[in-house]
Each structure stands twice: as C-alpha cells, then as structure tokens.
C-alpha cells in the first residue's frame, strides 16, 4: 500500500506534493536536476492565449522570510506550450495541472478548451488571482459573481476537472470559494500571493518595477493555513493548499488545516531539491504521529 497516495478529481497522486505554478517553469530546468516522476503532480506556469513577455525588471525583491515577485505571467503562449512544453513533459510519468490565465473570459475559455485536451493534462488550475497583471487575473478572483461566471464558462469547455486558484487579497475568502463551488469547480487551490510592496531606502521608491508584487515564502504560511482552515469548512470540494511550504512539517500543517494535497512554491528557488526531499521525509513524520496513511491528517484541526 502507498501511504502517501491521494485521490482527487482527475488526479491519482502517488504523493500529495507538487511544485506550484510559476515556481517551476514548465519543469525543464528541474528535470535536469532530478526525476520529475517522483512528484505527485506538476502545476505548470500560467499559460495565456498569446505570448506574454511579462513585466519590466526588477521583478523580484527579497523580504523578511519571503519574497515579492511581479513576473507578469511571462509565457510562450498556448500554441508553443502545447507543442513544446507539454510534449516534452509527456516523457515523464507525472500528472500535469495546467494553470490557465487570461485577460477576459474568452481568452480563458479558449486556452482551457485547447489545453485540457492535451493527453498529459489531468486538471486545470484557473488563475483568477494573479496580482501582477493589469487586466484579468485578480479582477476575477476578488468578485464572487465574476469568479463564478468564469468558472462556469471554463467548466463548460474543459475536458478535465477544473480547480480554481483563489486570491488571499479579499476580506472573506469563503465567499469566493462558495461562489466557484456553486459554479461547478471541482476543487480549489489556495493561496496565491499577498499583494505587497518594498521600498528602496535611498530613493524611497518601490524596488519592483511594477510597484507592487506578490508576497510568498515562509512569511505567508500562517495566512494560508488560516484560509485553508476556513475554506475547507465552507465548501465540499477538495483543496490543494500552498503558501510558504518549505519542509515536510509544513505539509502536515496544511493537511491538518483541511487541504488534501500541497503545492511547494518559493522554496524551489531556495532549494531546488525541496520537493523530493519533502516526499522522502513524509513517511517518518507519519510514523511519529502514529498514522498509517497521509489522508488521515486531512482536516484534523476542524472541531468535531
């Protein structure tokens, strides 16, 4: 029996660990360092209909136990992601979750319809929470009506289950979660980054060229845990939790909060081998807790 296995809509995960979208490119660079088939899944970088260059540099700035980024969804566009990136990833035995982004509903729908037909794409992650693009992105993720409409439109055309990636930059994240669940979402991924800013001491101006950036890294983990705790008790669809995961113990926390699987983001930049290291460390942590399977952890924090 595989103690780490998790079943989610569209995803039979050999373990609940996957690199988060935007922190792993399309797997090529990390695939040079280790065997990607060790991973539970891969959330590939956001794909838009057309090629996007992204934002001016500087695009990243370090902060206390975290970092800000404003990459701006740079990607080669749907056609090349399908032809080159997904084709290359097909050589690895690992489920792919394709992150879909756009600036209006029609873009999302076109990308979702096409990319969901790729043979190795097992699920979509609807990106309604990118804080670093002028149009689309977070605008859809902070309005429950828009979020629901977009979810329904993408669900109507997708050949695979649709997970919706939620933004923490809202006053009540459960409202958005319930709205996308009602619109047919098969699951939720959360949280995207928190909007932040760092100023240059000498000039007083923002360090990042975009002005604001998305905060990630260990600094955001308590916010993510709280939100997973809230959302997992407000909806009946599974959650892939993320936000500051850097070591195996963090996985225990996210599952206990109510997530069914966990994505690792910024930590890949700090330690490129962090995902396989976490996977290898999990069985011993289950032993310490006296648990047979990892799914026993899910929602331990909830009041009975």
């Amino acid at each position: 029996m595989n103690r780490l296995a998790v079943e989610l809509p569209g995803l039979s995960l050999r373990n609940p660990i996957m690199p988060a979208s935007g922190c792993f490119g399309f797997g090529k660079e990390y695939g040079n360092l280790y065997d990607l088939s060790q991973l539970g899944a891969i959330m590939i970088k956001a794909t838009t209909l057309e090629t996007r260059f992204g934002n001016p540099t500087p695009r990243v700035a370090e902060t206390a136990a975290g970092m800000l980024n404003a990459i701006g969804l740079q990607n080669p566009g749907l056609e090349r992601v399908m032809a080159e990136e997904l084709t290359r990833l097909a050589q690895h035995d690992v489920p792919i979750i394709a992150n879909v982004a756009g600036s209006e509903t029609e873009d999302y729908v076109q990308v979702a319809e096409a990319i969901s037909k790729a043979p190795n794409v097992n699920a979509l992650e609807l990106n309604i929470s990118c804080p670093n693009v002028k149009c689309g992105g977070i605008a859809f993720g902070t309005d429950p009506k828009l979020a629901a409409e977009l979810t329904a439109a993408v669900k109507a055309v997708s050949s695979v289950p649709v997970y919706v990636k939620l933004s923490p930059n809202v006053s009540d994240i459960t409202v958005i979660a319930k709205a996308v669940e009602a619109a047919g979402a098969d699951g939720i991924t959360m949280i995207n980054t928190l909007v932040g800013m760092r100023l240059d001491r000498k000039t007083g101006k923002p360090v990042i060229a975009n002005g604001t950036g998305g905060l990630s890294g260990p600094a955001v983990k308590p916010v993510a845990i709280r939100m997973v705790y809230e959302v997992s008790q407000a909806v009946n669809i599974p959650i892939i939790g993320m936000g500051g995961v850097a070591e195996a113990g963090d996985v225990i926390d996210f599952l206990s909060a109510g997530a069914s699987a966990v994505a690792v983001g910024t930590a890949n930049f700090v330690n490129p081998f962090v995902c396989p290291e976490i996977i290898h460390a999990l069985p011993a942590l289950l032993d310490e807790l006296g648990l047979e399977t990892i799914t026993e952890l899910i929602g331990r924090s909830h009041a009975v």
Partner: protein
C-alpha cells in the same frame, strides 16, 4: 552538470573596502566549464534571508577542487557570508550559467578585458585561460576609488593592466571608456563584465568589434525557472528575451538590448 554541494571555506580575506575573497572547496569545482560561470549560495540554514546569492567565480583549480569567489559584502546576505569563518560549510548550487569561452581568441591575438567594480573577478580566470593559450591580454579595470581597487597585481602578472577610478584617487581618472578613448588599444576581441551603463558604453565604443558581455540582474532561482532575470533582446534576434541566469550571464555583443 549543476550540483548542490556543501563546500568548506578554506580561506577568506578582505581585499578592499567591503570586498571579500573567499576560497571554497568541494567537488562542485569539477563541474565548472568556463570562466564567468557563477554559483548560487545559501548564506543561512534558516529562512532569513530567504534567497540564495549569485556570486561569480573568480578562479578555480580543479585538481585541488577549490574555487575563489570575490564579492562585495553590501546587503544582509553577503554580510552574513563574509562573516563566516574558515572551516565552516556553506550550501552552494552550481556551477550556473554560460561563461566566457577562451576559444573566441586565437593565439597571438590581443584580447581586451574590461571590468567594472565587482564585475572584475570573472575576468581573472578568463585572463589566465587566454594567456595560457598565448593570447595577449590587456586589462582595463574600473573602480569607484583607490579603496575599492583589488587584484591589480594579479592581473598585472598576466598582462598590461590599467586601473581607472571615478574620482582619480588611483590610476587614471574617469571611466574605463575614457581611458580607452585617450589611449586606444589595438585588439581583436573584447570581454567585459560590470555595471550595465559600462557594458552599454563599451559596446557602443567597440560596435565594430567582436565582443562578449557578462550581465548582472536580480535573480530568483538561478537556473532559468522563475523568469525574474529576463532581459529583452535587440531586434532581429531569434528570441524576444533571454534569461541572464541560464542563457547568460555572458552574451555576445548585440544580443541583449541595453
């Protein structure tokens, strides 16, 4: 191949104001392919500061499995690294990026090596490799002031070396391009590393020459996955952008829009 290696500090000394030379030992050194490659160093085992620090390799000795890094201890991360004692191990990822190739100069030719500030170190290994194959190297090294100058003797041992300082407190006064305008050098190929305005001035001054430029950019992952360090390319290139960490940091003149 990129490896993650815990490397022991075998020597460390201050060369100039805030400029530290550190010798690290480990089998990562066997993987170094060219001068101008860099390593990505985690300066702490905690999450503060979080990200690795990219530092260029100044020289290496594959037999001893040792490499020398020269860096400016300016921010939190590099100050923590500078404070580490001999014998301490640090987490090093590398070697990263594509460096300079000594194959771009033929024996008997003259190569012009132009460095600015903390861009000077990678030119040292390059000069060693070029001179070893019979290329005549001329070094033009720019610094802010006399207290910032380092490796003058090391470079002088390899070939003609000019020191240029912005305030004139050592060597010639002005920028490296001022010195070259006053006293031109006959050369075939130039190699340069330093602040972007300097790279721009050098590329403009020698637009009719073969040249190779090493760029600096804020980085996240250091391996090409995060898209933090992209630069737009000049029109007419195959791709609209390049990543400094994995496509560079060294590019032929005319590739990156500066």
């Amino acid at each position: 191949m990129i490896v993650q290696n815990r490397m022991a500090i075998c020597a460390t000394r201050q060369l100039a104001d805030n400029i530290i030379e550190m010798v690290l030992e480990g089998n990562l050194v066997k993987e170094i392919a060219s001068p101008g490659q860099f390593v990505h160093i985690r300066v702490t085992d905690t999450f503060e500061p979080l990200l690795r620090r990219p530092i260029s390799i100044a020289s290496f000795d594959k037999e001893k499995e040792q490499m020398t890094l020269i860096f400016r201890a300016e921010g939190r991360g590099t100050q923590l690294l500078a404070a580490k004692q001999i014998g301490v191990e640090v987490d090093v990822l590398g070697p990263l990026g594509n460096g300079f190739s000594a194959d771009n100069s033929a024996p008997g030719e003259t190569a012009l090596l132009i460095g600015g500030g903390i861009g000077v170190p990678p030119l040292y290994q390059l000069s060693k490799e070029l001179t070893a194959k019979g290329v005549h190297c001329v070094h033009i090294l720019g610094f802010q002031s006399a207290t910032a100058v380092f490796y003058e003797e090391e470079f002088a041992a390899l070939g003609e070396t000019r020191i240029v300082t912005a305030d004139g407190s050592a060597g010639e006064q002005g920028f490296v391009t001022d010195s070259l305008a006053r006293n031109p050098v006959e050369f075939t190929t130039y190699y340069t590393c330093g602040p972007t305005p300097m790279l721009h001035a050098v590329q403009q001054a020698f637009h009719d020459k073969q040249g190779f430029l090493s760029f600096e950019q804020r980085m996240g992952c250091g391996i090409g996955a995060c898209f933090a360090c992209v630069c737009e390319t000049q029109s007419g290139q195959d791709t609209p952008y390049v990543k400094v960490c994995s496509d560079g940091p060294v590019f032929p003149a005319g590739v990156v829009a500066i």
